[in-house]
Each structure stands twice: as C-alpha cells, then as structure tokens.
C-alpha cells in the first residue's frame, strides 16, 4: 500500500532515475519545467511503487502535457523504471519468468513456433512475454559489448519467428470465418502481433539496459517527436500518425479563423435597445446595448504543388487541404504541377484520404505540357481562370518549394493574387537554407506575399496556424 512517504524517504536511487528520465525527455524535445519535476517527485512519495501501470500514469500526468509526447514518455519510462534491474523490487511476473526460464531447458525452434501460434491464438500476455524472452535469447544474437542497435535485434528475433507468415495464415483463417466475426478476429490478430512486437522490443531493451545502462539505450532509441518529423521523410507509421494529427490541426485552423472573426470590436450603439433596457433600472441606462458587428465570412484558398519533387510533402498538403475542406465549408482547393485545376469537389466528394488522392491523380487536369513544376504558368493560369473569384475576404495558402525548373517566373501572378485577396501565405517544405538556390525562385514570389514560412514539420505548421492574424 502507498503509505505516504516523506521526501527523504524516497530512495535516492529513485530520484536519480527520475532526474535521468527527465533529462532524456528534454533531450528528446519534450518540454519539462522545474515545477513539473517537483510535482513528479511529490508523486513518487504517494504512488505505490510496486504498481507499475499506476506509477507510469501518475508520473506521466505530472511530466507530459501533450498527447503526442506520451509515446516517448512510455518508452523512456520502460527503460528507466521497468527494465532497470534492482531499482524497484520486481512484481511477481518478472521474477517468475526468470525462474521458469532457468528451470526448463531452452525451447527448440519448433517449440517456439508452437508457442508463437498459441500466443497469437490466445492473446495470453504471460505467454507472449515468455515467448519474447525465449525468442530473443535464441535468435537475436545479442552479445555484451556490441553497439546498441535495438531495432536490429528485435527485427532478427521476429524474422526468425516468421511472424509475418504466421499472421498471413491466421488472417486467411479469419477470412474463412467471414462476416463481422471474421473481420473482428482479423483485427484482433493484428493487434496481438503488435503486442508481440512490443514484447520483443521490450525484451531486447531490457537486455541492453542490463548491459549498457538505461541512458545509453535511451539515446539509441531516441526518435523525433511526431511534430518534429520532416514531411519530406515520412515513414509509413509516421504518415499514419500525421494523418491523425492533421485533422485536429485543420479544426484548429478553422476555429482560429472563425474565432478571430467573432472577437474584436462590438458594433455601434443600439440606442433603442439601450433605452428599452434602461426601463428596468428606472430610466438609468446601466447597460448599453450594441448592434451586432458586421461579420465578413473568411474564405480559405489552398494552392498545392503536387509534383514529384515534393511528392512526400504533397501527400501531406493534400491531407491538410482534405482535412480543411471537411472542417471549413468556405475552402477552395487547387492542385498544380505545370497546369492548375480546381480540386475542391474531388476532395469533398471523397470518402477518405486515399480516395481523394486517387481522384486527384486520375481526374485533376494539372499537367499542361511535360509534368514538371512550372510555377509561372500554373500561377498565371490560376489568375486568368479563377482570379476574379478572389475577394478581400480570402486567405490564400500556397504550398510548394518554388522550384520552377528554370521556367518563366511570372511573379506578377502572385502580386495579382495578393492584390485581390486579404492575404497570401507561402508555405515551403524546404529548409530555409535551400531557398533561392538552384532553380528555386521563392524570393521573387515572396515580395508579393504577406509572409513566407518554412513548413517542414507539424511544429512549424502549428506555429503558423497559431500566429495567423
């Protein structure tokens, strides 16, 4: 039970571990203030140390204040608190596993395969732990003193277990079951495999921690936070994570624009209403009434470069525009390479992002001659065809790297857009240092823009959304 401990009773080792965990969190980019460290120390006094999930949740609540950072915290907590030998007395499970393993002979590979099948079929957490332990022991080929490379060992162990083939077999089996039950079953198998992967990674990390100490392992497995991953180098999982993050951001942008509109000065004095209101206070106009202010409805126009050179960025761009169009009815979206086409309806009509991308790739008329970016032609064509629809209420976002392949710049087109719209923002996925090198002609467009922002990751995009006037 968690009898309240006095500060000095919190074991020194525990405090050191906490301090190291905080250092590593900060190194990974998670902001942790001193107040929060004090809170976490306080939390250690109260929380039951033997109850790891409670300890993890409690420390997490004190230290981490953003959903996107919880995963990083989870990994680090495991390294520093769960896998560290001798820090906290082990709860029954871990110790039990150890003795069980020593007691029995090392399982053969066929026994391991059987274990893997059982683990997947039953989803038994204990069995998965045992399997992970045995598999890493037998297959990962970990030796003390080798460089820390956690994902490699885990990859080897999982490959030798042939989990992918196993999953395929189970999925086929689920398919035969058919119906809703079959689908749910397939879902469950995928989840269990994910769990097994996690167990194997944990086991590898546990051994590495024992060999090298938690801080070294933490450094080795450090990944950028979701908001710091470069749009240009998105991996498969990161893209999925981005998808989840874009939606709230688009909502934020929509709320933000609508919000700015509602705030601000009240309208003119409404004399009649004020007089009527004053009757309740004996003719003294205590509360002046105002007319509702005139409201202009902002519009958002997005022009996105979807050419090959910014393919990864373009996928993100389309995602953003897709999310925007579902949140914000007055959004118009345009895609361009060397030609330009409106894609608002293609995006709005699509049930999901994949369909939207497919629609745009097959139906949008964005190639004029050769299919290499030609900003000059695309922008001037845009002005000629849709320029007259631009109003002073419109905010225009141009998303692209301004790499013009040495075509005509036609910067007057941006000037024209700027003249008609309320503001024009250019978001560039390239690092600032690369701007205006080679065939990038950003500077010539930039002079006509309200602002040009580097937009390489979610953090920068978020900052842009928040500072948008």
């Amino acid at each position: 039970m968690a009898a309240q401990r006095e500060a000095h009773e919190v074991a020194g080792g525990l405090l050191t571990t906490l301090a190291r965990l905080v250092d590593e969190l900060r190194a990974a980019g998670v902001p942790v203030s001193t107040t929060e460290v004090v809170d976490a120390t306080e939390a250690l006094r109260h929380l039951p140390l033997e109850d790891r999930p409670a300890l993890k949740a409690g420390l997490g609540a004190a230290l981490v204040k953003q959903e996107g950072h919880l995963k990083t915290f989870g990994t680090l907590f495991e390294l520093f608190f769960s896998l560290q030998p001798g820090l906290v007395e082990d709860g029954g499970e871990g110790a039990g596993m150890g003795t069980a393993q020593e007691g029995s002979a090392e399982p053969s590979s066929s026994e391991l395969a059987q274990m893997a099948l059982d683990a997947m079929l039953r989803g038994d957490a204990q069995l998965m732990k045992a399997l992970a332990r045995a598999a890493v022991q037998r297959y990962a080929g970990m030796e003390p003193g080798r460089p820390v490379g956690g994902s490699y060992y885990a990859f080897r162990a999982l490959r030798q277990l042939q989990v992918d083939a196993l999953l395929a077999r189970l999925l086929a089996q689920a398919q035969e079951t058919g119906g809703l039950a079959g689908m749910a079953e397939a879902d469950e198998y995928r989840r269990r495999l994910q769990q097994l992967r996690h167990e194997v990674e944990s086991e590898v990390n546990r051994r590495l921690v024992a060999d090298r100490g938690a801080p070294a392992v933490a450094r080795a497995v450090r990944r950028p936070l979701p908001e710091d991953v470069d749009f240009m180098h998105l991996g498969h999982d990161e893209l999925a994570a981005l998808q989840r993050n874009i939606q709230p951001l688009a909502r934020k942008l929509a709320v933000h624009l609508a919000h700015k509109r509602r705030r601000g000065h009240q309208g003119r004095l409404d004399f009649r209403a004020t007089m009527r209101r004053s009757l309740a206070t004996g003719g003294v106009p205590v509360e002046p009434r105002f007319k509702a202010p005139h409201r202009s409805k902002p519009e958002l126009w997005a022009l996105a470069d979807i050419s090959g050179s910014v393919a990864a960025f373009a996928r993100f761009t389309l995602q953003l525009v897709y999310a925007l169009s579902s949140q914000f009815s007055r959004t118009r979206a345009f895609a361009f390479i060397d030609g330009v086409d409106e894609v608002t309806d293609l995006l709005r009509g699509a049930p999901d992002m994949a369909a939207a991308v497919h629609n745009i790739n097959t139906q949008a008329d964005v190639i004029w001659t050769e299919g290499h970016s030609d900003y000059g032609h695309a922008l001037s064509d845009f002005v000629a065809r849709w320029g007259r629809d631009l109003t002073p209420r419109a905010t225009v976002l141009v998303l692209g790297d301004a790499r013009n392949n040495y075509h005509q710049v036609e910067s007057w087109a941006v000037a024209e857009i700027g003249g008609r719209a309320r503001q024009v923002w250019w978001l560039n996925p390239e690092p600032r240092a690369y701007w205006d090198t080679g065939d990038s002609v950003l500077a010539q467009y930039a002079v006509h823009c309200t602002g040009v922002e580097e937009c390489r990751n979610l953090r920068q995009l978020r900052r842009f959304v928040e500072q948008l006037p």
Partner: protein, 301 residues
Amino acid sequence: MAGMTAQEPTSPHFSSPQAVTEGLKAVGYLADEAISSVVFLAERLGKPVLVEGPAGTGKTQLAKSVAEMTGARLVRLQCYEGLDESKALYEWNYKKQLLRIQAEQVAAQDETWDQLEQDIFSEPFLMARPLLEAIRATEPVVLLVDEVDRVEVETEALLLEVLSEYQVSVPEMGTVKATRVPMVVLTSNNTRELSEALKRRCLFLHLDYPDAQREREIVLAKVPGIREDLADQVVRTVQLLRGLELKKAPSVSETLDWARTLLLLGVSELEPAVATRTLNVLLKYRADIERAERHLAGAAS
C-alpha cells in the same frame, strides 16, 4: 513546494489508486489504471486535472462520478467563447445596488456615503459565479471547468489565479481564500492549444476510446439484460469502425445507444445486414455511414 499552499488537502479519501478504481466502480464509472492513478494523485497533491480527448470518452462524466464517489457537490463552469469574469468569477448585482441607492434617496438621509458604499458592496449584492462559489464552499466540492479550450487565451489567465492559489480577489471585499482545496477537473476537446502556464499547473490525463475489454465491461454494466456474446460483437464492431477514417468516430455513449437499440430489436446475433440497418444510431454523418456500409458489405460477401 508546488501544490503545498497554506491549505493542505483535507484528509485523503483513498489509500491507493486501486481504491479509487473500486470507488469509481461503485458509482458506475469503470476507470482504467491511468484514470485512477491520476485522480488519486490529484487528490493527494491538491492539483487540478486537465482531461483531454475526443468527444464522448467520458471526460465530463469522470468529474461527475468523482463528485458522487466522494460525496461532494459538483460546481460546473461551462466554458464558451466570450466567457468573462462576470460569468466565471463574480458580478455585482447593480440593479439591486441601484434600487438600494434610490431607496436611500426616498428614505431619510441619515446614512453617510461611506456607510452606503460599504453596504452596497457587501455579501447580499454579490452574485457568486462558479469559480467563486467553488472557492467559498465550506462543504467538499468538485469544480468542473468544462471545455476549457473554448475560452480565449486572455480568459484562461483568469483561471490561473484560482487554480494555483485557490483564491479569488474581489477588490471591494478583499481576497477570498478556499478553506479546503476543491478537486478541480478541466476538460478539453483540444480545439486549441492551451497555454503552457495552465498546463504546467495541472496533471494531464489523456482519455482515449476504451480498449475492447474495458468497453465490453462498460456495455455489460450499462445495458442491463444484454447477453455477453452480443456485447462482445457490438464492441468488436465499434472498435473496427473506429479504425476507419471517419469524420466522427463513434463515442462510448453511442456504443451504448447502439447496444440498447439492438436489444430492443431483439437481435441475438449481430449480422452485417442488421448492423448496416442500425448504423445511424452509431454514426451521425451521411459520409461516415456510407463508408461504414461499404466496409461492412465487404464482411458480408
């Protein structure tokens, strides 16, 4: 130390996070380890809890259940854009003050202005709004600040004094300090990044949709008479749908509505055809329903 203001939290209710889980269960709220641990810690440290997550995951209900569990009164401040001091903290009832002054003019004028001023800026003329009400309460209260992401950044600053010092300053009367630290729960749908200052003062709890096992327990607890295998099918299907890319994923309360609907219809086995027919209980957008229908049709064939 932070959280150790003049008022120590009054005698703690719970000996461990486990006890919180049991307490919440007794009032019909199935908490997972993270929830109980954070609630436990909030009480021990006297810190507010910021609960964030998608709509329909039981954020508001958590505050209500904590109040019920501890036998405290729930004081609720519903946030909205344009919420200001006079709606959150307190307001002078100036109509009443005006009447008082006018009454003074009619009656014999034996009262000096100072007396009158003292009089009209006193308790009977003060209208306490939720924050002041929670601070002044002598009995235990749980203060729920709902959808805090809806207020402007400027208004957020108002909350800071209350949440860190547990006090409210009324210039005419002085500072009102809490006699006991109220339990504070703030909820946010994350439509806006909250200020760092506010986040620093709170314990952070991210509430996501429950996993299959917990959701099954919730369905079994909240829908009396449902058979276990039907509950299981319902939950599995809902979890499947949440995996799709939807405008609005089904919330826990929608899962419960769906389970009740199926029960009323006398469904014993959840077939794709039945599921498709009743999808409108679960999903509220045309596009989402169509998308789910297509997905379920894949299961039927």
